[in-house]
Amino acid sequence: MITVENLQKSYGAIQAVRGISFEVKPGELFGFLGPNGAGKTTTVKMLCTLLKPTGGKATVAGFDVARQRNEVRRAIGIVFQDPSLDDQLTAVENLRFHAMIYKVPRAERERRLEEALALVDLKEKANAIVKTFSGGMKRRLELARSLMHRPAVLFLDEPTLGLDPQTRRRIWDFLRDLRRAHGLTLFLTTHYMEEAEACDRIAIIDHGNIVVLETPQRLKERYHQKTLEDAFVQITGRTIRDEEAQDGSLMRTFFRRRSR
């Protein structure tokens, strides 16, 4: 469902992703792990067509992420790390915007809206402005939205970050049901090891390279660790990574040259 061959991304002299290769099978729950700044988000952004690779090749649902961007976009759903809703619109307006922009046929649209809201238990909140929602409600709404156009692959970039255990469990129940019902392929990035544990296979990326690709069980065996977290720390080391924030005074930002 996803194939990645020697995929690279560099920003000037800095290589964020240094030629990685892997494959995700249809219907798989694929975990993509790594410390902060290891190249996780860059990879996800390239697979989602938000960033252009500087080398190598990747296809999603059979389409090239650099050359067939709109085809890829139609085939994928995304739940971003940070909220991406219009919080001045209502829940149902957010969903309708999505359905219209993905060209869900008019007759289908209202039916799917109902269905999506029911799926994430937000039916009573359909006409409430999103600004009034809690973090968990927003996440559920985003999940519902990402499924409106029936994607073949769903990207989840730390989908349960900052949510309470109840909401996390709820979201995972939805995802399990979806996989069972539609055979959806899930591409997950997370820092929660119990979520990683539930994956069919895990890839760990560090310093822009994939250092291991294995089932959670075999990974623990291979590194002789009881928990996945211990294995993860053994593989990626104990040092804390500090992600560098984007620098720039106004003038520098405004007049910068873009390397793309």
């Binding site: 709109n70 139609r74 809703l85 999505h98």
Partner: protein
């Protein structure tokens, strides 16, 4: 280009704008206070060539002011969308970047013409007669200016990462465009450097056309003004499409 996508982007801007009544009121207060306070304040010291009152002279300029600020503000919404993440939702959608830009520019145009029209209907209070023809002409001019300035705003917003620079944009770009548009003073008698600043500002051609249709007084030839405005609009939308294509979430 993708007409449905353009409409959806446009529709969202309409919904957000007309839901927020305070924004409409606040947007109208600035030009209206300028019109009354500046208009009547400077009236005694202004002598128009054909007996025009300053309140009459300045009204077309204030219409353009309302248009200018609304257009930029609406385009700056892109930075908000970036800040609150909604831009990502738009950028990963299976639609072309140019339809997003056109939708945004049309949204900004509609809202700016609306705000400009709120000032325009005050014209009879200043003893300016609004004929059907002058209304049609005024709408055409407002549309052209709005579209160009919305596109300029999109160009700027595409290059900005955060809101910190907003004040600088207002002071370095929007205020000079307004103050040097001939909205507040006529060209005649200006020192040459100032005269040329105004002449080189494309917005001044919009002001002049509007003054022509409302007061039948122009400083440039109308054909030249129409040409400059059309060229400005094409240049700005092209640069908006170009810069937005380069943007990432």
């Amino acid at each position: 280009m993708d007409l449905q996508a353009v409409c959806v982007i446009w529709l969202r801007d309409m919904k957000r704008f007309f839901r927020d009544r305070t924004q409409i009121v606040v947007g109208s207060i600035r030009p209206i206070t300028w019109l009354f306070f500046m208009g009547y304040g400077l009236s005694p010291s202004f002598r128009g060539p054909t007996g025009t009152q300053y309140t009459q002279f300045v009204l077309p300029g204030i219409v353009i002011m309302a248009v200018l600020f609304t257009a930029i503000q609406s385009a700056i919404g892109i930075i908000w969308d970036r800040e609150f993440g909604f831009l990502k939702e738009v950028l990963v959608a299976p639609i072309s970047r140019s339809s997003i830009v056109i939708g945004k520019a049309m949204g900004g145009t509609t809202l700016s013409v609306f705000q400009g029209a709120i000032v325009l209907v005050l014209a009879p209070l200043m003893h300016i007669h609004l004929s059907v023809l002058s209304c049609v002409e005024s709408f055409a001019v407002m549309t052209g200016v709005s579209f160009s300035l919305s596109s300029l705003g999109i160009t700027i917003a595409s290059r900005m990462r955060s809101f910190e620079g907003f004040g600088a944009i207002m002071n370095f770009i929007v205020m000079p465009l307004f103050l040097l548009s001939g909205a507040l003073f006529p060209l005649r008698g200006l020192p040459p450097w100032l005269y040329w600043c105004v002449r080189l500002n494309p917005v001044s051609y919009g002001v002049d056309l509007l003054r022509g249709s409302l007061l039948h007084e122009t400083q440039y030839s109308p054909a030249l003004s129409v040409g400059v405005l059309a060229g400005f609009a094409i240049l700005m939308i092209a640069s908006a499409v170009w810069q937005f294509n380069e943007t990432d979430a």
